[in-house]
Amino acid sequence: MDDERISLSLRVNGATHRIEDAWYFETLLSVLRYRLGLTGTKQACETGSCGACTVLLDGRPINSCVALAADVDGDVTTIEGYSPADGSLTPLQEALIAAGDVQCGYCLPGMVLAGSAFIEEHPNATEDEVREGMCGNLCRCTAYLGIIEGIREASAR
């Protein structure tokens, strides 16, 4: 088994982490959650189908459940790094929860990170733009109405 173990470096939320004795096939999601304790990144489908594990890699959203940790080259931002350090909310986070659509909230960190990249590129987004741009993020509780609304509001310039 020793030949299946590797060491790797990851830059996460501005800090560099050295991971020893990781399995060579470990996903970024697994390393973030179970080796670095960054459990804000959610595990849900493990096939890149639902977006709950979304993190930003150099500012671009990726599904960390289908990214090999050893392959990751760049700056990873998780929900812990995205959220203001003083415990407050970004305008996007505030808009999403003000729009009333939080229920279980398991999809929410992924929605926030995918949404943050989306609104960068889509000022004053239309409803259809949000539905298309955010359709990689599943929510099982809501009808998406508040999520669409919240992201549109946060995209207003």
Partner: protein, 794 residues
């Protein structure tokens, strides 16, 4: 969106959209869900599952796994002190001992230092199967008498015959809960021979009793703590990993974490039962329904689990929200080897509602009558009697619901240049606007609220007031439905104060009932309201004594003690002199009774809720592609405690029902599930999201504090009939089966639908037995229901 649906963290009291107390933590990723639980020095658990739907276990050799480095324990069925469990019937093995009865059934469990080592240890276990023929067809199961429960009842004169008779056979699929939060958590030894389980469940007290019984421990040696619950929808009523985790924790004397993969969650967990339902309506030529006949078959998996109440709900709610004077209904819950079945939002009612509403669509066509008008004409009202002989003794404004659902503006016509995302099929659709047929139709549904047929429905809440702030303790599970928010609002309004918080939920608290059957708002919410009312009484008595005002002249408003004319005397905080005021109250819903053998006046269900929906769909009939454009839903909620949350429950439930209507199916082929990811098992995405207009009616529920009524299951019941009524209007097809996939909507297999009423087995081999229903110590399901108590329940 309207401003009253914007959540506000500083909003106070019933009727406001107070923000969920956990919203900020959830948005920041700081809220701990069960899969996030961790303990120093913990091991990782994993489960070896059956590869066959039916086989005898000839040999299970755990030794190769035990010998692997990093493996701390490997256990089989013989290591379980009492190897049968279940939330209602206790006939499910914790670990298979002689026979496996479905693909995914647990056979052995492992604890190892790392999840990968645990998985490899599973591979090392040697299992020799003697493969048996699986029973995979529900009709064969019925013919051969594999029946868990059979119900058969009549109402009025079952020999009545209508001038117009319309019948059909309708089928519904196995549906997966597909909550995002995977099953998992940590079990750890408590150091005194017991175990602490941190996970996600709908009912900590039921879990405690089941885990304790399986381990051979007294209930007080097991503590079940609810961590954050990532959705539930009925899927966390029955245990998954918890007993396995507890066994391994006690064997290794280490904390053990389980976390199912999505594929394992599909395989291991129960699903909504598939059904086949024959229904026949008899009506006069002017559309008065005079009789309903039905035969309801639930395919209920290899163990009886929770399926008794399922078929009880299913056969009684087949009637729908209509007053029908005569009836003959039969129902069977049958066993197969196609995986576990159990409760999912709208338990037992989603399927008959689809069947009877579908047949109502057919009846309307046969009568040449508008579907909404047929429903209006037969609408149930307060004072009517259900076919299962229960007086409808609370509001049933069905006609008004139907009328109001037709009052919203219809969606704008489809533009000639509409982009793909607004067309059936979505972004890359081959459909063009001119290929699209649009249609609108109305449907209406009813659902029982709370658990039925004698199941205990009660909850206890403790409210503490100190320095002007109140803390609520209630063990009711917050699965995302919003109980914690509305509990705070109820106390704010009842006590007249703004600072209210609520604690977590564990089995060391008093029983808070199960988060099931849309019962928590009106049950635990009732307990919270009663406790707050008692607390206020005690507090005002104290104020009266200390400050010399007659207690009847005192009240609390906006954080002040006031005279009844509104004059402010002092803040609640000052008045309390740093003392602690407390009250505990238990609220029990009225006693219900088994469907069969009730005395006159004994209810089977606690109460009911009703909704109507007008749904507009766009369909490409040639390609079978569908887009739900708009749903205008009207539901009688009794009292809107939190408009944002109520809207969220109703809209979200409708979309889950729309998923079942159009895409969700978890099929088996020869006893083996063929879909194991969300790439195969499709749930609605943002592309599929329709416009939804939610309107509340507010006819208070009698006998319940503030007139609150449950909300959350009915919208899922409403989804499939709403979508299918509109689809039938667009296509003219009967569409007797859901999901209405493109193949079905394009009518590629017109002869595939089954016809004819089923007959019961000639020879009954009822599988229910006394042993399977035995109670275990501390089981809240078998607690006697105490008399109801409180100002709202004289």
């Amino acid at each position: 969106m309207s401003d009253d649906l914007r959540t506000d963290p500083s909003a106070v009291g019933i009727g406001t959209s107070r923000r969920r107390p956990d919203a900020t933590a959830k948005a920041r990723g700081e809220f701990e869900f069960a899969p996030d639980a961790t303990e120093p020095g913990m091991l990782w658990g994993a489960t070896l599952r059956s590869a066959h739907p039916h086989a005898r276990l000839v040999r299970v050799d755990l030794n190769p796994a035990k010998a692997m480095p990093g493996v701390h324990a490997v256990l089989g069925g013989w290591d379980v002190p009492d190897n049968r469990y279940g939330a209602i019937n206790r006939d499910t093995p914790v670990l298979a001992d002689e026979i496996v009865n479905y693909v995914g059934e647990p056979i052995a469990i492992v604890a190892a230092e790392d999840p990968e080592i645990a998985r490899r240890a599973l591979d090392a276990i040697v299992v020799e199967y003697d493969v048996l023929d699986p029973l995979v067809d529900m009709m064969r199961a019925l013919e051969e008498g594999h029946v868990y429960r059979h119900v058969d009842y009549t109402h009025g004169d079952p020999s009545v015959v209508g001038d117009v008779q319309v019948e059909g056979v309708y089928t519904t699929p196995r549906q997966d809960h597909s909550y995002l939060g995977l099953d998992g958590g940590v079990a750890k030894p408590d150091g005194r021979g017991g175990v602490v389980i941190t996970g996600a469940t709908q009912w900590v007290h039921s879990d405690r009793a089941q885990v304790a019984a399986a381990l051979g421990l007294p209930p007080e040696r097991v503590l079940v703590i609810n961590s954050g619950i990532g959705g539930s929808f009925g899927g966390r009523f029955v245990l998954s990993w918890q007993i396995h985790g507890a066994l391994l924790a006690l064997h290794t004397e280490r904390p053990v974490k389980f976390l199912y993969s999505r594929e394992e969650a599909f395989l291991a967990r129960y699903h909504r039962h598939p059904t086949r339902i024959w229904v026949r309506h008899h009506a006069t030529t002017d559309g008065q329904i005079v009789k309903i006949e039905g035969k309801v078959i639930h395919e209920d998996g290899p163990y009886s689990n929770t399926n008794g109440p399922g078929i009880g709900n299913g056969s009684t709610l087949l009637q729908g929200p209509y007053n029908i004077p005569n009836a003959h209904i039969e129902g069977w819950s049958v066993g197969t080897n196609n995986g576990m079945c159990g409760s999912l939002r709208g338990f037992g009612v989603v399927e008959p509602a689809f069947a009877s509403e579908s047949n109502m669509d057919a009846l309307a066509r046969a009568l040449g009558m508008d579907g909404a008008e047929l429903r209006r004409r037969n609408a149930m009202k307060e004072g009517d009697t259900w076919t299962f002989n229960q007086l409808m003794d609370s509001p049933a404004p069905v006609r008004e619901l139907i009328d109001v659902s037709g009052q919203s503006p219809l969606p704008e016509p489809l533009a000639d240049d509409a982009p793909g995302i607004d067309l059936p099929g979505g972004i890359a659709t081959p459909t063009r606007p001119r290929d699209v047929t649009r249609a609108t139709a109305t449907s209406s549904v009813a659902k029982n609220v709370c658990l039925s047929e004698g199941a205990p429905v009660n909850s206890t809440a403790l409210v503490t007031l100190r320095d002007g702030a109140a803390v609520i303790e209630c063990a009711a599970a917050e699965v995302g439905q919003g109980f914690k928010t509305i509990a705070e609002q109820i106390v704010q309004t009842t006590l007249g104060i703004s600072k209210v918080t609520i604690t977590g939920s564990d089995s060391g608290m008093a029983d808070g009932s199960t988060t099931d059957g849309q019962l928590q708002t009106m049950t635990s919410g009732g307990a919270v309201a009663m406790a707050a009312a008692t607390l206020k009484e005690r507090f005002l008595k104290f104020v009266s004594r200390e400050y010399g005002h007659a207690v009847e002249n005192l009240d609390v408003r906006d954080d002040y003690v006031v005279l009844t004319d509104g004059t402010r005397l002092m803040t609640v905080s000052d008045a309390g002199m740093h003392l602690v005021f407390q009250a505990t109250e238990r609220f029990a819903q009225r006693q219900t009774y088994d469907l069969e053998g009730r005395e006159p006046g004994q209810p089977m269900h606690v109460t009911f809720n009703f909704s109507a929906t007008r749904c507009t769909v766009d369909v490409d009939r040639e390609l079978g592609l569908v887009r739900v454009v708009q749903m205008d839903v009207v539901q009688d909620v009794g009292r809107t405690v939190n408009p944002a949350q109520a809207t969220g429950q109703i809209a979200g439930g409708l979309v889950m029902g729309m998923g079942l209507a159009l895409m969700e199916e978890f099929p088996y082929a020869d006893g083996v599930p063929t879909r194991r990811t969300w790439d195969d098992y499709l749930v609605p995405t943002m592309i599929d999201a329709p416009r939804i207009d939610v309107t509340f009616l507010e006819y208070p529920e009698p006998r319940i504090p503030y007139g609150m009524r449950g909300i959350a299951e009915l919208p899922h019941v409403q989804g499939p009939p709403a979508v299918l009524a509109a689809l039938r209007a667009a296509t003219g097809l009967p569409l007797p089966s859901i999901p209405a996939t493109p193949e079905r909507v394009a009518d590629l297999h017109p002869d595939a639908a089954p016809t004819g009423a089923p007959t019961g087995p000639a020879r009954k081999r009822i599988r229910e037995d006394a042993e399977s229903a035995r109670a275990v110590p501390g089981d809240p399901m078998n607690d006697p229901v105490s008399p109801r108590k409180g100002p709202w329940n004289p």
